[in-house]
């Protein structure tokens, strides 16, 4: 299993707010070492690898994760879902899960 995290880097070199929060979330829970690669989406650079990957996978916001294994490629836009799905952690409550996703990413409701 190989896990890639796509993060957005702002013009000033900092992570976008949510990327920073999610990185900290992973570090605090001891999961940061489970991330095999970080790919950057550079603000104002539509050719940067993270933007290109987001376009290919139909993901609009950072951060997100791409997990590759024998079953192929799975995209996670929710860090909680990644953790419970891939790191064998107990399921989060539906409220926690709901607060972890961007409602604007969910078309059709």
């Amino acid at each position: 299993m190989h896990i890639t995290m796509v993060k957005k880097r702002m013009r000033d070199g900092s992570d976008c707010r949510k990327c920073g929060e999610v990185t900290e979330h992973l570090r605090q829970r001891g999961f940061w070492d489970r991330i095999d690669a970080v790919v950057w989406a550079q603000e104002d650079d539509p050719t940067s690898p993270g933007v290109v990957l987001g376009e290919r996978l139909g993901v609009e916001t950072a951060p997100f994760f791409v997990v590759r294994d024998d079953d192929g490629e799975t995209v996670y836009t929710s860090v909680l879902r990644l953790i419970q799905d891939r790191f064998d952690q107990a399921d989060a409550s539906t409220v926690e899960e709901a607060l972890d996703v961007d409602p604007d990413d969910i078309g059709g409701i």
Binding site: G58, D71, G72
Partner: protein, 249 residues
């Protein structure tokens, strides 16, 4: 039956130019009865009309956020009676909603943005609605939001909720239809519709967060109009977002 996740992209390409009814038929055939139509009380009624005429087993669900227009609630019930179907209506979790209102009041979205309120009133019930399903059908269209929905495929692995533990496929049969085509279908087949559309609403959501638009405005301008779309810091296309000016893209 269900679709092999590895073949979804090829399937999307194959069905991209097909009639939405073909896509609905395929979806029900492959996933019925473990497939649900998401009915928001607006144009997605077209999907119910198509599915009812096709037949087969499918579910219909709605999310009652507690802030919908009375007209929308009445319409949901009218559709239930018109098509003689069961509609599973999901409500926000009381404890989480009471906490939000207690701490931030009833209109926190005007100051804090709509996302927390949407998460509790809409996303959490959606998670429960999707739990027993292997696939769902939505009414989203590319022309609803050129900035963010321009690449919607007619079928995809759900980009938000699919996981290794819960494979979830999302069908968007109307993705390539324009609003004009959709309304032609509604009129030609005398499909019931939400009366708010006659009062200038082009996008119908919660009452405090939706307002009528004029003909020169794009429909998404009727939603969360007090928020700056370009301020979505984590958007991967933020540098490419064209700001609305004078009601035009």
């Amino acid at each position: 039956m269900s679709v092999d996740p590895k073949t979804i992209a090829a399937l999307a390409a194959e069905y991209a130019t097909r009639d939405p009814r073909d896509i609905v038929e395929f979806a029900i055939r492959e996933y019925g009865p473990d497939i649900g139509i998401s009915f928001s009380g607006a144009e997605s009624v077209v999907l119910i009309d198509m599915a009812s005429k096709i037949g087969g087993k499918f579910r219909v669900f709605s999310l009652d956020t507690g802030r919908l227009h009375p007209e929308t609630l009445q319409f949901i019930d009218r559709v239930r009676r018109h098509y003689a179907i069961r509609i599973d209506v999901y409500y926000p979790q009381a404890e989480a909603l009471e906490k939000l209102v207690r701490e931030k009041g009833l209109f926190s979205f005007y100051t804090d943005g709509h996302k927390e309120c949407c998460a509790i009133r809409k996303v959490e019930p959606l998670l429960r609605a999707l739990k027993p399903l292997n696939a769902w059908i939505t009414g989203q269209r590319k022309d609803q939001s050129p900035g963010t929905r321009s690449a919607i495929p007619v079928v995809q692995l759900d980009p938000t909720f699919n996981s290794a533990k819960h494979r979830l496929v999302k069908f968007n049969p109307l993705a390539n239809w324009t609003g004009k085509q959709l309304w032609a279908y509604i009129r030609e087949r005398e499909v019931p519709y939400n009366p708010l559309f006659e009062r200038g609403y082009s996008s119908i959501g919660c009452e405090p967060c939706t307002r009528p638009t004029n003909p020169s405005q794009h429909e998404r301008e009727g939603r969360w109009w007090w928020e700056d779309e370009t301020a979505k810091e984590c958007g991967l296309h933020a540098g490419n977002v064209t700001k609305f000016q004078d009601g035009n893209l």
